[in-house]
């Protein structure tokens, strides 16, 4: 079979061509190569620290994809994603410790519970839009945070919950490398689902609502139902990622699931590129990389005695760099890294006539 190259213009003749995931066979080939490298070579070539970072990237990518479905595809801004992530983590922890669900059941169950919680907080979207909905999800964030800390009988308050080790079909998942397969298999699966959701009738309905909700309503799309569905799917992703995270961390408290985390997820979606599934992964890589680099810098400064003062004062640098990253991306490339990548690719493809 002859491999088909990318055409120089838009030669699509059928709707199926528009909907296709891979425009050329090279895309498929590269994906196959990339995936086999990811699972075959990467875990053996990287040390435990790099594996840890990769695992965190995979987990945050899943949650970021969920938020991108809500923000980038449906146009509903949520400031409560961090809290939903926390709900997933707690749901998994409680299911695993009190009901003794096995890992493979607890994961989707936590996702479903979070989806229900998310849909409850999505109910205001029936009446509200834009600013008001954002504020409603902000309230959701604070309320969930409060419940996680103060529902003592269920969440053990500030003491936290310790999770049992992960076991899949009797096989214990202990070290980073084994967990790498769990997180990245989940990421591939969830990405596949997301890519396919956005090209079905549901995805097209989401996009219609994002682009013009009144027109969508006029064309017979039940807006409220689809908005709720979008909240549900997005929270399912958040909950699933939260559950993975909880198992990975082995013990959880309510501390990380703050508004700051929600903002970080939105930053991932914006920096990665709204309305692009791959963009959410780029965003997750970018933000996690940024976090780790800054932590590494702080550590270096802290370990040199003469510079310890400097190390202490650059701790707020994280906040600063993070803020600048968001602001600069919004002002100069509001469509994010996905767009940067697209421009680079197409300028190669159209060379020497690129503009």
């Amino acid at each position: 079979m002859k491999l088909q190259l990318h055409p120089c213009g838009n030669f699509k003749e059928r709707y199926e061509d528009e909907l296709t995931i891979f425009e050329t066979d090279y895309g498929r080939l590269w994906l196959a190569i990339g995936l086999s490298m990811l699972f075959g070579a990467v875990p053996f070539a990287s040390g435990p620290y790099l594996l840890y970072v990769l695992n965190i990237i995979a987990i945050t990518s899943i949650a970021a994809i969920g938020l991108n479905i809500l923000i980038g595809f449906t146009g509903q801004i949520s400031l409560g994603h961090g809290a939903f992530f926390g709900v997933g983590a707690y749901a998994a922890a409680i299911l695993a410790t009190q009901v003794h669900f096995p890992f493979l059941v607890a994961l989707p169950a936590a996702g479903l519970i979070t989806a229900i919680v998310g849909m409850i907080f999505g109910i205001p979207s029936g009446r509200l839009k834009g600013l008001y909905l954002t504020i409603a999800t902000l309230a959701g964030q604070f309320i969930i945070e409060y419940v996680l800390i103060h529902w003592d009988s269920l969440t053990k308050g500030t003491r936290g919950i310790v999770l049992p080790p992960v076991s899949i079909f009797g096989m214990e998942i202990i070290d980073e490398r084994q967990y790498f397969y769990v997180t990245f298999a989940s990421l591939v699966l969830m990405t596949l689902i997301a890519v396919n959701i956005v090209r079905t009738r549901y995805g097209r309905a989401f996009i219609a609502i994002r682009d013009n909700d009144r027109a969508a309503e006029g064309m017979g799309i039940p807006i409220f139902k689809y908005k709720l569905l979008s909240f549900g799917i997005s929270s399912f992703y958040a909950g699933f990622a939260g559950a993975l995270w909880a198992y990975y961390m082995t013990s959880i408290t309510a501390e990380p699931f703050t508004l700051g985390l929600s903002v970080e997820y939105i930053a991932m979606v914006i920096i990665g590129g709204m309305g692009s599934i791959a963009g959410s992964i780029y965003g997750a890589v970018f933000i996690t990389g940024l976090n780790e680099t800054l932590r590494w810098l702080t550590d270096i400064f802290m370990n040199i005695d003469a510079l310890q003062g400097v190390g202490l004062t650059i701790a707020p640098l994280r906040e600063l760099v993070f803020g600048f990253a968001i602001v600069l991306f919004i002002i100069f490339e509001p469509r994010g890294l996905a767009e940067v990548w697209r421009i680079i690719r197409s300028s190669f493809r159209l060379w020497p006539f690129s503009y």
């Binding site: 600013l131 008001y132 701790a315 760099v321 602001v327 509001p334």
Partner: protein
């Protein structure tokens, strides 16, 4: 009974402060429909400038006050010019996220410069401002904050009602395109509203700093408390901001006093959800919610 009255007094004073903080927020929203997530940082900025002027530069209180208000005013201008202007006409989420990013930048900068410690202003309020009345003691700060709150309310009210700039601002808030076609300098109005909002925010930051001490984290978290206040009062009503502030302030102190201190911080948001479901435009806001 005495406990009740003391809570009432505290609630009203804190409410006035929330109301003042919310006023600046409403100003920005009213003219440019921007939801400002960096409002708490603007508050903290004002408080810190004042602190530096009083302690480090050793200026007398009145001069320091004027300098810090001018600083906030200019800051508002700069923010609008550098960050908000490129985004005019962009989708809502970019503008919201931009202010979130700005909040992070400001917080980082302030932590870099002043650190995360708690500072206290030198005591400069005259003691005879305090009111003793039948066993109830109102400290001078609360009296001062209420006075300043009322003063700003009156000044801003007059400004919007009678001054030409105020009328331009209202016209832009009402219909941007129409205002533009009638020759209103819309960008100038945006810049001015940010500057005034930053000034009001700095003012309330200073007063809050006198009461609770100055700390970057505490002051910037007040910026989030503003949301229940403005939604309750109506996003585009300055008077509503004060009333909303009073209601939220009272609610907070009474919950903290009678039910549980930990519930105190979350009660405003629970109320917020209910208001949004029942009456999203708030008590005094313009009824302009479309149901889609």
């Amino acid at each position: 009974m005495e406990f009740f009255v003391q809570l009432l007094v505290n609630g009203i004073s804190i409410g006035f402060l929330y109301g003042m903080a919310a006023m600046g927020f409403v100003m920005i929203f009213k003219s440019s429909s921007v939801l400002n997530f960096a409002h708490g940082e603007l508050l903290a900025f004002g408080a810190f400038i004042f602190l530096t002027m009083v302690t480090w530069a050793g200026l007398p209180v009145y001069a320091a006050f004027l300098v810090s208000l001018t600083g906030c005013f200019l800051m508002g201008f700069v923010i609008e010019r550098l960050f908000l202007r490129p985004l005019i006409g962009e989708p809502l989420i970019y503008v919201i996220m931009l202010t979130v990013g700005l909040a992070a930048i400001f917080k980082g900068l302030m932590l870099l410069i002043w650190g995360g410690n708690l500072y206290i202003y030198p005591d400069f309020l005259p003691a005879n401002l305090s009111i003793e009345w039948g066993g109830i003691n109102i400290p001078p700060v609360y009296v001062l904050s209420t006075m300043i709150g009322l003063l700003f309310l009156v000044i801003l009210g007059l400004f919007f009602k009678y001054s030409s700039q105020g009328i331009y601002m209202r016209s832009v808030a009402d219909n941007q395109t129409a205002a533009l076609s009638l020759g209103v300098h819309v960008r100038g109005v945006f810049a001015l509203s940010w500057a005034i909002a930053a000034l009001v925010a700095g003012m309330s930051g200073i007063v809050l700093g006198i009461i609770n001490g100055i700390n970057v984290h505490d002051l910037s978290s007040v910026g989030l408390k503003v949301f229940p206040v403005v939604i309750l009062g109506g996003l585009d009503s300055i008077g509503g901001a004060i009333i909303g502030g009073l209601i939220i302030g009272l609610l907070e102190t009474f919950t903290g006093g009678y039910i549980s201190p930990s519930l105190r911080d979350v009660v405003p948001y629970i109320v917020l959800v209910f208001i949004l479901l029942i009456r999203p435009y708030g008590l005094f806001g313009l009824v302009e919610i479309e149901r889609v």
